[in-house]
């Protein structure tokens, strides 16, 4: 009897849960934890080099980065986010620069490629229109870390991608590999916006507050692993962004709790 119960339990565990009303092309990530590259809270333990894991609640994450075709549907329904109409405060001069016009791409095949040249405002507006949000940096990094599966190979893959000059065209999303969670293209397609890209405060911002000493004496002091160059690149990149920036290798995906 006990054995049959166990068998049923095992069968349940082995089968991916089919959730009623699962969002289209989203992947469920279980609750868990991960160790951020930079501890954002300046406790004594962190200053002493004790990097505690941060809990992350279960979430839905888009399987793929948002494509040009998907973004086109969005701007058709929301005129204020069209290339010709977006207020300058929400995007710099290169918004959707790879598109041929408000409603067309340079090539039909671009529809399957991740949309790039979108500002944080446009990305967040897209997600909100779908009842979603950009993922937080913690959520995004948690998805990338993939529960620690093949950590060494992942690190090598990330570094290899960062070392490769940008191709003229971003690869189509279907070419991207899927990680252990079933999330695709966390590496190898585009850099991605996060909801709180602007949450990592650097020295000058805090200069006169007298309340923070994390960055005194060099930014690497707060880092989990100073040799993790790939993570350093990602965190530096995010903290260099402004919400109106658009670049040809930066896209996004959406999340939902």
């Amino acid at each position: 009897m006990r054995r049959s119960v166990l068998a049923v339990l095992l069968a349940l565990l082995a089968t991916p849960p089919v959730v009623a009303g699962a969002p289209d092309r989203m992947v469920r990530l279980p609750a868990g934890q991960y160790v951020p590259f930079y501890a954002r809270e300046s406790t004594k333990a962190v200053r002493d080099g004790d990097h505690r894991p941060v809990p992350v609640e279960a979430l839905w994450l888009d399987r793929d980065p948002v494509t040009n075709a998907q973004f086109l549907e969005f701007v058709k329904r929301h005129p204020q986010w069209r290339r010709s109409q977006i207020p300058a405060v929400f995007a710099d001069g290169h918004y959707l620069a790879r598109w041929a016009s408000d409603f067309s791409f340079a090539a039909a095949s671009d529809g399957e490629r991740p949309v790039t040249g979108v500002s944080w405002f446009a990305a967040q507006a897209y997600c909100r229109a779908q009842g979603k949000s950009l993922p937080t940096t913690d959520q995004w990094e948690y998805a990338l870390a993939d529960g620690g599966r093949d950590a060494g190979a992942l690190k090598a893959k990330i570094l290899a991608w960062y070392a490769t000059p940008n191709a003229r065209d971003v690869p189509p999303v279907r070419t991207a590999g899927v990680n252990g969670y079933g999330v695709a293209g966390m590496v190898g397609l585009v850099w991605e916006w996060t909801l709180d890209f602007n949450s990592l405060l650097s020295g000058p911002d805090l200069r006169n507050t007298g309340s923070d000493e994390r960055f005194c004496g060099g930014g690497s002091l707060g880092a989990r692993d100073a040799s993790d160059y790939a993570s350093f690149m990602r965190y530096s990149m995010r903290s260099s962004l402004k919400a109106s920036y658009t670049t040809n290798n930066m896209g996004f995906r959406c999340a939902r709790s």
């Binding site: 405002f121 709180d196 602007n198 990592l200 405060l201 805090l206 507050t209 402004k242």
Partner: protein, 200 residues
């Protein structure tokens, strides 16, 4: 002369009708908003009296603004004090509005903001304290370039800045040093007011 005044009076009456100005679209001032105006944000805020406010309702007068949270122990009171110090050096009836945007979407209810205003003796004829949800706070921080992180205790680490917005909501100047004397920002405000008088 009288015929010219009638449309103007009608417009004024319309603008004052039952607080309708709080919800007027961006076009209501007669010109579209400049593309660089932060009032292009369509988020909804609520003031310390519980009244809904759209950012575009701030249009028409210069604004000195900062993002703060009222449970903040050291930096935010300094921000408020600095804004008061700037206000003290401006001409009476300068028309400048002082706006504190709370980044604490959980604890800074309108009632909490009213308490804070009383504690700091803020004259609510000139000062407005605004509350909004997380999404609106993040959008405003993004548009102003304010970095912040909400920690597990619900407190914030955030960058410091006082912003001067022109009457259309375009950022005209910014002060990041709370220990600097108020003179530099006072000069910026005076220049902005002078430009305004000459139709700039």
């Amino acid at each position: 002369m009288r015929t010219k005044l009638i449309p103007l009076i009608a417009l004024l009456l319309l603008c004052n009708a039952a607080g309708a100005h709080e919800h007027m679209p961006a076009m209501a001032m007669g010109h579209p908003l400049p593309g660089q105006s932060i009032y292009n944000l369509e988020s909804e805020w609520t003031n310390q009296g519980g009244v809904p406010v759209r950012l575009a309702a701030l249009r028409g007068r210069p604004v000195l603004a900062a993002m703060v949270y009222t449970h903040c122990k050291d930096v935010c009171p300094l921000t408020t004090e600095k804004m008061l110090a700037i206000g003290d050096k401006l001409p009476a009836r300068s028309g400048v509005q002082f706006v504190l945007f709370s980044m604490d979407w959980v604890r800074d209810t309108p009632a909490q903001l009213a308490t804070y205003a009383a504690q700091h003796h803020l004259d609510l004829r000139q000062w407005t304290l605004l509350h909004a949800d997380e999404s609106a706070v993040r959008e405003l921080a993004a548009v102003l370039g304010v970095s912040f992180h909400r920690d597990a205790n619900g407190d914030f680490q955030h960058s410091i800045a006082i912003f001067l917005l022109d009457s259309n909501g375009v950022v005209s100047a910014q002060e990041n040093d709370l220990q600097a004397p108020p003179g530099a920002m006072v000069r910026n405000v005076r220049q902005l007011l002078a430009r305004g008088r000459h139709g700039g």
